[in-house]
């Protein structure tokens, strides 16, 4: 019997996998009881008001009691002022039946509050610096002003909806079979037993069925919802992860955006369906102001977006009537449980908001340099010989490669922390062969644990009760790669410690401290669960329902891994790749966009998705190069490598059923193009590394949407097929089949169509005009420009792996702006250890003005590097200088100057990186 069930399951899974994603396997808002209920408020509105006389003000915050005027349930409200133009709004029940879940571990640390000034006139208002919150009592509403401009309005639409916890009405004796009857009876009963307004008129309030899955809802209805309007803005973006455009689309009349970590197989594009990660942060942007809201809630969340449709008709109407759009863009967050915990970030510029969000949830710490190199992955590299020979082939074809990856098949029957003894008899030798070449190995460890009594991890978890429990208190058993599997409850610190300790080399002694980790399937993915994930009525540590914490599961998983890797080698920065993520996961791991497909459209969406992730904290983002499912043709492979080379995480990956597709298996042309793309990536590694250091320091995303630096240019608001690397490079990869030119948008810095100069990084040809420009491309061309006014550090000596480039000399590429000036930073350290936190690093700002290049150290240059400066390339000079003079410590020396395709090259300054110098060009 059991066997047949398993067989059916396997067949079911296989059929499912053959057919691709079926959207009906996932809930729509209409099928989800709480979303349905909460969305109703959009037509009726709600009536919440602050109870007079309950307002208390403190040095940094304000509290008040809130009442639902319909059912007279009371709530408490707390509004805190945080450092950096940010406010935190919390609304919870005044006397809940049970405590409601408050998200833990997402914030970097407890946010710092700041002093407020309270003013009471008609309305109560609190002021911090240039930001101000005005609280309206009845109807309840809070307006947030930045420099006297209204930027965020909370509950402006009166869509606050807070289902208080309640006792389930006594069910009649024993409900007969047949859900509908029973539910109806229940409702009647409930209505009879409780006063009006206490019931929630929805059949799914106390239990819910989806497909064959039953969700017993012991706590009944407990949804929270609130609307945020962004009056000073025109476009909304954020709330990853969705395979959708960067600018959010209006959801009126369609499905809301869904945030619920799910393992969606062959996801569809241009869709609001939930994917692997959930980061509930949204930004509103307009030419004058940018603001954001971080909705801290780990339960399933739907987000309705209302933006003024900018189609021809409406703009005509606006033009005729001469009015601005009447309704500002707004977002309605609807969560299944928890409390209202919202952070309102007031900007005013895009970069300010991104930094304000980074101040709350943290940033990705500076990664080891190797993780910014090229990663070679496949499900699966079959055995030790396969791994070694693929690595050797990269050397044979002279293509740089840093990391080999092993997917699930390396394990002994999907028992993590073990190796397949036949395919991988000597993992340590294999790892040594890789590390001797400067390469690394990354292996996968998933959170599903095989239920097998001969598996130590399973036994430990069973004996100590480390697994997630069912409602009845038994270990939850699902189905995943190993077959029957259970899931450790990472919310329990003891379980996390146990899991982390498994990474100790004394326990997991078949790897070395250089082997890094990949945590996949941690949504969690449960093949036989509702919507391919765990049931919502499971019980976690602290007696919280899975419903309350679902979106945090992956986050807690990687927290454990990070802890484990740090304990394993306290002086090495861990590298972890995760699929599921929540706000704050960026502090531990990089992400990728999951199981995409080898199609041109998926290539285009890789940039859109990573841009959204980048503004939501996840700069370390990439997509499976050449697509996970399916067999790409050689042109798609070429273009995907060219695109992937300019996304922060650069990994080729493929499904087990696809044809092998290592670079040398294609024609020579394709192989050469791949090699060029990878080498370009390696030449820009100093820029990537500097960007990641500055991300850790300031929270400024590494890759940025155009609007970040060109907020006044409305055309940039919707551009998501080109990106900026810091403010230095503009990348617009070719992502269409068979094109001979691409349209590139060069943004304007003001509303008079003035723009920066942009220099083609290959030819140094200068773009001086703003607007769309048609750029001819051939198969080798990656359209990338460097901004005039910027200095980009490079290393132009490609090696087989980035770790071998540590002491290689630098090249500075200086592109001049209209005033003949440029500036840019460079960061360097040992690229591996935590010594940089003790100041063992060099961070330097180069400035070029009046034909002279000088450097200024940011902090003390306290790292001894053998690297030196071998070349300075200057583009945009009006005339070619005859020579250059370098001055160090008062000693001068002549340098030779030569011309190289449109730029001037200063030959061999031969200067150590930690020395002050000046290079002057002689007329």
């Amino acid at each position: 019997m059991r066997f047949t069930i398993i067989a059916c399951l396997i067949i079911g899974v296989l059929i499912n996998y053959a057919a691709g994603v079926d959207p009906t396997n996932f809930k729509t808002c209409e099928q989800s009881s709480f979303c349905r209920r909460s969305r109703k408020v959009q037509s009726t509105g709600s009536k919440y008001a602050i109870i007079r006389g309950t307002v208390n003000t403190y040095s940094d915050s304000l509290t008040a009691d809130l009442i639902n005027k319909e059912n007279h349930h009371q709530f408490t409200l707390k509004l805190e002022a945080l450092v950096g133009s940010t406010f935190r709004l919390q609304i919870d029940e005044k006397q809940p039946l049970r405590p409601r879940y408050r998200v833990e571990h997402a914030l970097k640390d407890e946010p710092k509050t700041t002093r407020i000034r309270v003013q009471e006139s008609d309305e109560l208002s609190i002021t911090v610096g240039t930001s101000k919150a005005v609280i309206h009592g009845d109807p309840f509403r809070i307006d947030f002003y930045e420099n006297d401009v209204l930027v965020v309005a909370v509950n402006a639409k009166n869509w606050l909806y807070f289902e208080h916890l309640r006792q389930k009405a006594k069910a009649p004796a024993e409900p007969a079979d047949g859900g509908d009857d029973a539910q109806q009876q229940q409702q009647e009963n409930a209505e009879a037993a409780q006063p009006a307004g206490e019931t929630v008129d929805d059949p799914g309030a106390w239990e819910e069925n989806f497909k064959s899955h039953h969700d017993s809802k012991p706590n009944g209805p407990e949804a929270v919802a609130l609307d945020f309007s962004f009056p000073a803005t025109e476009v909304l973006f954020g709330i990853p992860e969705h395979a959708d455009s960067f600018a959010l689309k209006s959801t009126s009349g369609t499905e809301p955006y869904r945030l619920y970590n799910l393992d969606v197989f062959e996801y569809i594009l241009d869709s609001k369906m939930a994917l692997y990660g959930s980061v509930p942060v949204i930004y509103g942007h307009g030419p004058e102001r940018t603001a954001g809201v971080y909705w801290q809630n780990a339960a399933e969340t739907w987000v309705d977006i209302y933006t003024a449709e900018t189609n021809v008709v409406s703009s005509l109407v606006n033009f005729v009537s001469g009015s601005r759009k009447s309704t500002p863009p707004s977002a309605h967050f609807i969560s299944e449980s928890g409390i209202v915990d919202a952070f309102i970030m007031l900007g005013p510029k895009p970069m300010d908001v991104f930094k304000q969000y980074a101040a709350l949830t943290g940033t990705h710490p500076l990664p080891q340099l190797f993780s910014l190199g090229y990663h070679q992955c496949r499900w699966n590299y079959n055995d030790e010989r396969d791994v070694t020979s693929v690595s050797a082939k990269f050397d044979e074809y002279n293509i740089p490669m840093d990391t080999m990856w092993l997917d699930i098949e390396y394990t002994n029957g999907k028992r993590y922390f073990t190796w397949d003894k036949f395919k991988f008899p000597e993992p340590l030798t294999m790892i040594k062969n890789l590390t001797e070449l400067g390469r690394h190995l990354v292996i996968i460890i998933d959170p599903h644990i095989k239920r097998d009594t001969s598996y130590f991890f399973h036994n430990d978890c069973t004996e100590n009760g480390y697994y997630v429990k069912t409602r009845e208190g038994n270990d939850y058993e699902g189905w995943c790669w190993p077959g029957p599997a259970s899931y450790p409850d990472f919310f329990n610190p003891v379980v996390r410690d146990y899991y982390a300790s498994q990474y100790q080399l004394s326990k997991f002694n078949t790897v070395t401290e250089d082997v890094m980790l990949w945590n996949d399937m941690n949504e969690p993915s449960v093949f036989n669960g509702p919507e391919v994930t765990a049931a919502k009525d499971l019980v976690h540590y602290g007696n919280w329902e899975h419903r309350d914490v679902h979106n945090l599961y992956g986050h807690m998983n990687i927290m454990g891994t990070f802890e484990g890797l740090q304990q394993r080698d306290p002086n090495q920065r861990p590298f972890i790749l995760t699929r599921a993520h929540f706000a704050g996961s960026q502090r531990y791991a990089a992400i990728w966009t999951g199981d995409n497909m080898a199609e041109w459209a998926h290539l285009q969406y890789s940039i859109k998705m990573c841009l959204t992730e980048a503004v939501a904290g996840f700069s370390f983002c990439g997509a499976d190069v050449a697509g996970f499912f399916g067999n790409p043709d050689s042109e798609l492979v070429e273009r995907w490598y060219q695109t992937g080379a300019f996304l922060p995480f650069f990994r080729a990956h493929a499904h087990i059923d696809t044809k092998r597709r290592e670079p040398w298996l294609f024609s020579e042309r394709t192989r050469e193009i791949i090699k060029e793309a990878v080498k370009i990536r390696y030449s820009y590694l100093p820029l990537w590394y500097t960007s990641f250091y500055e991300l850790e320091k300031t929270g400024a995303p590494v890759i940025r949407p155009m609007l970040t630096h060109y907020p006044l240019d409305k055309e940039t608001f919707s551009i998501d097929n080109q990106l900026l690397v810091q403010q230095r490079l503009l990348v617009r990869p070719v992502m269409q089949q068979g094109v001979s030119k691409v349209d590139v948008y060069f943004p304007a810095v003001d509303d008079k169509k003035n723009g920066d100069y942009w220099y083609d990084v290959e030819t140094f040809q200068r773009q001086e005009r703003t607007g769309y420009e048609s750029i001819p491309v051939n198969e080798h061309k990656i359209p990338v420009w460097q901004r005039g006014g910027s200095i980009v550090p490079k290393k132009e000596r490609p090696r087989r792996a980035s770790t071998l480039m540590l002491n290689d000399p630098y090249t500075l590429v200086i592109c001049l702006d209209r005033q003949g000036k440029a500036a840019g930073t460079l960061y360097l350290d040992d690229e591996k250890s935590y010594a940089y936190r003790d100041g063992k690093h060099i961070h330097v700002n180069y400035e070029f003005a009046e034909n002279q290049l000088t450097n200024r150290f940011i902090g003390k240059p306290n790292y001894k590097s053998d690297a030196w400066l071998e070349r300075i390339i200057i583009a945009g000079l009006e005339r070619v200088p005859s020579s250059a003079t370098i001055t160090v410590n008062g000693i001068s020396q002549q340098l030779e100057v030569e011309q190289r395709n449109g730029a001037v090259v200063v030959r061999k300054p031969s200067i150590k990186m930690d020395v002050d110098f000046a290079v002057k060009l002689n007329a």
Partner: protein, 208 residues
């Protein structure tokens, strides 16, 4: 009247010296003889057999051993102001009598790595002429083929010929080389480890 065919020679007698082809051959023969005679006068300028043997031995030694003799860390190039970027220059003055193989080139190119009549070095692809002191100064001047930096990793492309070259006694065999990007990268690539000559890696000799 009936015409009869008569051979030309039989009609006109042609003396030996009027046959151009024969005279041409004779001329060549005479020139050859006079050249040999001329050469005979300079016979005494040839090195002795002992000298030849010594020179051959030197060449073989320099192929088979560490060529530390040609590494001049201090000289050449524009000495760095602050010591950045070691200059690995070929000694400017070549001892005429001893043969020194520049690290990383093959014997075939031996003559190309000498200053030309202008005292310059011409990239092997002929694209550029650079001052001879720029040879092996750890800065890539011949972008096209990397030929000015055979001993260093300065050029993105280029070959480093390992010291150990396995050859048939007749001289046949493929050149053993690695990409110059592998030079001094802390990984032993040549079987004799000759590609790691500034790093501290201890390479085992794997040439069998």
């Amino acid at each position: 009247m009936r015409k009869t065919w008569v051979k030309r020679e039989n009609i006109y007698f042609k003396p030996f010296y009027k046959d151009k082809s024969k005279m041409f051959m004779l001329l060549i023969f005479l020139v050859g003889i006079s050249f040999i005679v001329y050469q005979a006068f300079s016979l005494n300028q040839l090195p002795s057999v002992q000298q030849l043997r010594r020179k051959h031995k030197q060449m073989m030694q320099s192929l088979g051993s560490k060529q530390l003799d040609v590494d001049d860390f201090a000289g050449g190039g524009n000495a760095a102001v602050a010591g950045g970027g070691a200059d690995y220059a070929v000694p400017a003055t070549q001892d005429a009598d001893s043969i020194k193989i520049i690290r990383g080139i093959r014997l075939f190119d031996y003559d190309s790595y000498k200053p030309n009549y202008k005292g310059m070095f011409k990239c092997l692809d002929g694209s550029k002429e650079i001052p001879f002191k720029y040879l092996n100064d750890n800065y890539c001047d011949c972008d096209g083929d990397g030929s000015d930096e055979p001993s260093t990793n300065a050029c993105a492309i280029g070959r480093f010929y390992c010291k150990y070259q396995k050859r048939h006694i007749t001289g046949r065999g493929l050149d053993v080389w690695v990409w110059t990007s592998r030079v001094n990268d802390n990984v032993c690539d040549c079987c004799d480890g000759s590609d790691e000559w500034t790093t501290n890696v201890k390479c085992q000799n794997r040439c069998a």
